[in-house]
Amino acid sequence: MTDHPVVARLWAALQEVEDPEIPVSLVDMGLILSVDYLAEVKTAKLRITYTAMGCPAMEMIQDDIRQRLLREAGVEQVDITVVWDPVWTSTRLSPLARRRMAAIGLGV
């Protein structure tokens, strides 16, 4: 359920998970498409994407998401589905992501 009270907590937790190569959270990178919570099986259910199909950090990103969300009360399982539609483009970057990337010399 996307409107379950735990969902807001999961989004806040994901704000703490940084992209492995850029000092910007996965949320601000626009990689998290949706977050649901299935209370009956204590499962966080995510749809995520990557900036490219050849993203070198796919497994690392999933590991980091699991590690962080499993620390949340009420979460015993994390199901991650990777989707390629919608295609990630730089328009998914938040204004904060753009500022941080500019600060370290990355043009977007």
């Binding site: 492995p20 190569e21 850029i22 993203c55 070198p56 497994e59 690392m60 590991d63 600060a103 370290i104």
Partner: protein, 307 residues
């Protein structure tokens, strides 16, 4: 050189007042020579790691794993470009440095003269060598008085973290299997002390004091070596890899003769022969190791074909 350089006194005064050195006009000739030396070591290390890692990436267990390793190679090329570009701004001939300099004159650590022959050796290199690179470059990032380098390293710092995490992630994945752990152990057996040695002469024997006097870096060789062991030794203990160092109070103590004789052809440390002098280590470094000529030739091949 068209730009008038600074006097020794004015350069030191600028550094002591906390201002960054931004270009030739803020440098004394001694500062220039020092910053060129440390930048060349950094640039050469980043660049030579590309063919070294590429060789082992071809042993990747899957296409995704290959992609991750190639992305690391790409990062290293970009990091090298940053340092060579800064050298160019300081009046150094970049094309000569990269494409025409004889292999024996390159200034990277001896560890990269050794071939990485497998995926296991690559991921241990990511965990050991990239941790060393991270310690060295994050020290420069926090402490250097050379402004252009400091600013450029913000991006490099984060990417080096990805490389060493890549190594750690793969080691954690492989180590629970005894057969895989044995291969990782064989890699750690020769690579651990080669990385300990990477940080250079102990502080008591160091010759170039301008690295600290001028604030090119903040921590001494021995402090950096300790910082590296403080990360790597606990990690190895966690994943069940034996390494010859242990913690005593706040410091890490090396359990084998150091420095020691290294048999490059066997990837074997002759600890049984006891401790040797640093003069013998410097002799081995200066003579370069097995892959030096081949790796440099691979970087220079395109240029030589085109000119």
């Amino acid at each position: 050189m068209a730009i008038a350089m600074n006097s020794e006194a004015l350069t030191l005064q600028r550094i002591k007042s906390g201002k960054l050195v931004e270009g030739l006009e803020h440098m004394s000739p001694t500062y220039l020579e020092g910053i060129k030396r440390i930048l060349t070591v950094s640039a050469d290390t980043e660049l030579i790691s590309a063919p070294a890692y590429f060789r082992a990436a071809q042993d990747a267990p899957s296409l995704n794993a290959f992609g991750s390793a190639i992305s690391i190679v790409q990062d290293e090329l970009a990091h090298a470009h940053i340092a060579y570009r800064l050298l160019e701004d300081l009046g150094v001939d970049k094309d000569w440095l990269i494409y025409q300099r004889p292999a024996g004159e390159w200034k990277y650590p001896y560890a990269f003269d050794m071939p990485l022959d497998s995926w296991h050796e690559l991921v241990v290199a990511n965990a050991f060598y990239d941790q060393a690179g991270y310690e060295l470059l994050s020290d420069v990032y926090h402490s250097t008085t050379f402004g252009p380098w400091k600013r450029a390293l913000a991006k490099v710092d984060k990417e080096e973290t990805f490389h060493l995490r890549h190594g750690q992630q793969w080691i954690r994945r492989l180590a629970p299997d005894p057969a895989e752990r044995a291969k990782l152990q064989r890699a750690a057996d020769w690579m651990f002390m080669l990385t300990v040695e990477w940080f250079g002469l102990p502080d008591s024997e160091k010759r170039h004091t301008e690295q600290l006097d001028y604030g090119f870096k903040g921590r001494t060789n021995d402090q950096l070596r300790q910082a590296w062991m403080a990360k790597v030794v606990p990690f190895c203990e966690e994943v069940g890899l034996r390494v010859p160092a242990h913690r005593e109070g706040d410091t890490y103590v090396i359990d084998v003769p150091f420095p020691a004789t290294f048999d490059a052809s066997e990837k074997y440390w002759r600890f049984e022969e006891g401790q040797i002098g640093w003069d013998q280590v410097l002799k081995r470094w200066k003579a370069r190791g097995p892959m030096n000529a081949e790796f440099v030739a691979s970087l220079q091949r395109g240029w030589n074909a085109a000119t």
